[in-house]
Amino acid sequence: MPIPLYGFLQGDTVGLLILAEEAETLQALARKLQAAASLRVEGRDHVQVVYNDKTMDPAMTVTQAGFEALDRFDVVPEQQ
C-alpha cells in the first residue's frame, strides 16, 4: 500500500504529493521527488533526505525510517 507523503525539494516553489512504497529506499524516494519537480529544479547527483530535522541514511527503507502517511520529508543537496 503506497504511503502518501509531502515532499519538499530544496530549490522548488511548491510541495508535492509523493506516493512512497514501504520497501523503497530513501535514496529512491529522493530520486522520485527530484523527477517529480524536474520541470522547476535541475537534478543533482548527490542529495540527502531530511525527516523530522534529521538527515537520514539513504539505504534505509521508508518503513525503517518510520515514515507515516502525510508526513513531511525534505530533499536537500548533500553537504560537502
Partner: protein, 497 residues
C-alpha cells in the same frame, strides 16, 4: 412636512425597547457577534455619510450611467481585442474571482442589516448590500459577454460553482468572511481589514495598471466600485472601536486573523497581475512597492488609530512581500492547465526588472525560470507541447488557506505538519496554523484537494481531475500565452519546424 434634517436622523436612529422579548433573543450572540453588549453600548454608533435612500438611488444611477457611457465608448469586443494578451488574462482572473465574491458580500451585509446592533448601522448595511449587488452585476455585465471572444471568460459566472482548487480556496475565504459570519466579525473583517486595509490594491493599484494598459473600461469599473466601498467601509470602524473598548484582545485577534487571510488571497490576485500579467513598460511600480506605500503604511496608521498592536507575524509578512507571490506564480505556471487563464514566462527583460525590484530572493526564483525555459527549449514551442512543460505530480495545499504549499523560499519551504485530535493537517505557514488552532472546530473537517484525492472524492489522474473535478476543458484550461514561442528562447516556431 419635515425637512430632510429633521426626518433623516429620526429614520436612521429608529431603535426601541422590547417589551415581549429579550434583547439577546432579538440579537443572539451567535449571529450578531461577540462581545454581546446591550444596545446602550451601541447607541452612539455613527458614520459620516448619513445618506437617505433617495439620495443613494440618485447617486448610484449617475454612477451607473457613467460606467455605461464608458462601456459604450470603449468596452466593445474589438476594444478588448487590442489589449495586451497578459493583461487580458489578468482580466480573466478578476472577472472570475471578484464577481460572485461580491455577491457573498451582499449576504454578509444583509446579516448586518438585520443583526447589526444599532439602527443606523443596519441602515448603512442595507446600502452596503445594494452596493455589493451592484459590484456583482457590473463585472458580470462587462466581462461575461467576452465569452464570444474567449471561452475562458465563461468563468466569470462559472468559477465559484466549480471545485477548481483556486475556487475552493476563494470559497473557503469568502464563505468564512461573509456567508457564514456573524455581524460583528463580518463588519470588522470586511469593512476594516479588507475594504480599508486591502481595497487600495484593487481600486488604486489595479485602476492605475488598467490605465497604463489602456484598459479604460476596467479602470472606470473599479473606480466606480471604489466610491461605494469608501462609503460602506465606514460601517466597520465604529464596530471595531466598540469591540476594542470592551474586549481589546478579541479585537486584536480578529484584525490579526483577517489581515493574514486577506494577505494570502490578495497577494495572489494582485501580485500576479502587477508583476507578471502587465506588460513591462506598463508597470508603474512593483507589487512590493505598491504594498509598502498603499497597504502597509496605511494599515499601520489604522492600527495606531484604534490602539491596536502590529500583528505578531509582522516581520514574516514583510519578508513575504519579497517572495510569496513569486513562488505561487512559478508553481501556477507549471500547473497552468489546472486554472482558467493563460500565463506568460518572464523573459530576460522581465527577469532583470524582477531582480532589481526583488533582489533578496530573486537568484533562487531565476533558477526556477531558467529550468522551465530550458524545458521549452528542449521540447520546442507549440500547443502540442504544453503538457511536456507541465507538472505531473500532485501539488499540495494548506489546510487553512487552501492555497498551494508555496510559502517560505525555494531554499526553505515553511510548511508544517500538525496532528490535531488524531488527524494530520499541513499548513503553509505559522500564521495559518495559528488561525486553525484558535478555532479548530471551524476548520478541522474541511478537506483540501489532496485529501479529496486520497479519499477518492476527486480523481487522482490529472486529465480526469481537470475535466471531471475542476470543470475545465481543453478550450478553457490554462496554457502558455505563446505556447513557448518566445524569441528570447532561441527556438522560434519557424526555426524549430
Amino acid at each position: 412636512m419635515l425637512s430632510r434634517e429633521e426626518w433623516l436622523p429620526l429614520a436612521r436612529k429608529l431603535d426601541w425597547d422590547y417589551s415581549y422579548v429579550r434583547e439577546d433573543e432579538v440579537f443572539p450572540e451567535v449571529i450578531s457577534g461577540k462581545p454581546w453588549l446591550p444596545h446602550s453600548e451601541w447607541k452612539d454608533w455613527e458614520e459620516s455619510f448619513k445618506t437617505s435612500y433617495r439620495e443613494y438611488v440618485d447617486n448610484q444611477y449617475e454612477k451607473d450611467m457613467a460606467v455605461q457611457a464608458v462601456h459604450d465608448a470603449v468596452g466593445r469586443i474589438e476594444n478588448v481585442q487590442k489589449l495586451a494578451l497578459p493583461w487580458l488574462n489578468s482580466l480573466k482572473v478578476h472577472a472570475a474571482a471578484l464577481s460572485l465574491a461580491e455577491f457573498t458580500g451582499v449576504i454578509g451585509n444583509l446579516r448586518g442589516a438585520r443583526f447589526g446592533r444599532d439602527s443606523a448601522w443596519r441602515t448603512m448595511a442595507t446600502f452596503g448590500a445594494l452596493d455589493e449587488y451592484r459590484h456583482t452585476q457590473i463585472p458580470l455585465l462587462l466581462f461575461h459577454p467576452l465569452v464570444r471572444l474567449d471561452s475562458q471568460f465563461d468563468w466569470a459566472h462559472k468559477f465559484y460553482h466549480t471545485n477548481n482548487w483556486f475556487a475552493v480556496a476563494a470559497r473557503h475565504f469568502f464563505d468564512e468572511l461573509t456567508v457564514g459570519q456573524n455581524a460583528i466579525e463580518f463588519h470588522i473583517a470586511t469593512n476594516v481589514v479588507l475594504e480599508t486595509g486591502f481595497t487600495n490594491l484593487q481600486f488604486v493599484g489595479l485602476a492605475s495598471l488598467a490605465r497604463e494598459s489602456s484598459d479604460h473600461m476596467f479602470e472606470r469599473m473599479v473606480t466606480s466600485i471604489q466610491t461605494d466601498e469608501a462609503r460602506h467601509a465606514q460601517i466597520g470602524h465604529p464596530v471595531l472601536a466598540t469591540v476594542m473598548k470592551h474586549d481589546p484582545k478579541y479585537a486584536q485577534y480578529l484584525v490579526d486573523k483577517w489581515f493574514w487571510r486577506n494577505w494570502r488571497l490578495f497577494s495572489i490576485l494582485t501580485g500576479l497581475s502587477i508583476d507578471y500579467l502587465t506588460a513591462l513598460d506598463q508597470r508603474p511600480y512593483s507589487f512590493k512597492e505598491f504594498m509598502e506605500e498603499w497597504i502597509i503604511d496605511q494599515f499601520l496608521r489604522t492600527l495606531d488609530e484604534f490602539g491596536l498592536e502590529k500583528p505578531w507575524y509582522w516581520d514574516l509578512l514583510i519578508d513575504e512581500l519579497d517572495i510569496y507571490h513569486h513562488m505561487i506564480y512559478a508553481s501556477a505556471y507549471s500547473y497552468r492547465a489546472t486554472l482558467w487563464f493563460n500565463f506568460v514566462i518572464p523573459g530576460p527583460a522581465e527577469r532583470k526588472w524582477l531582480r532589481q525590484k526583488y533582489p533578496k530572493y530573486w537568484d533562487d526564483m531565476d533558477a526556477v525560470w531558467e529550468q522551465i525555459s530550458e524545458r521549452w527549449r528542449t521540447v520546442g514551442p507549440g500547443p502540442a507541447n504544453e503538457f511536456a512543460v507541465h507538472g505531473t505530480a500532485m501539488p499540495t495545499f494548506c489546510d487553512l488557506c487552501q492555497l498551494p504549499l508555496s510559502a517560505g523560499t525555494p531554499r526553505k519551504n515553511t510548511a508544517r505538519v500538525l496532528v490535531h485530535e488524531g488527524r494530520k493537517y499541513i499548513f503553509c505557514s505559522e500564521p495559518c496554523q495559528w488561525i486553525f488552532l484558535h478555532e479548530p472546530e471551524r476548520y478541522a473537517s474541511h478537506k483540501d484537494i489532496v485529501k479529496r484525492v486520497l479519499s477518492g472524492e476527486a480523481p487522482s489522474e490529472l486529465l480526469k481531475l481537470l475535466t471531471e473535478y475542476f470543470n475545465l476543458t481543453p478550450d478553457t484550461w490554462g496554457k502558455d500565452v505563446h505556447h513557448g514561442d518566445y524569441e528570447w528562447l532561441g527556438v522560434r516556431k519557424d526555426s524549430a519546424a
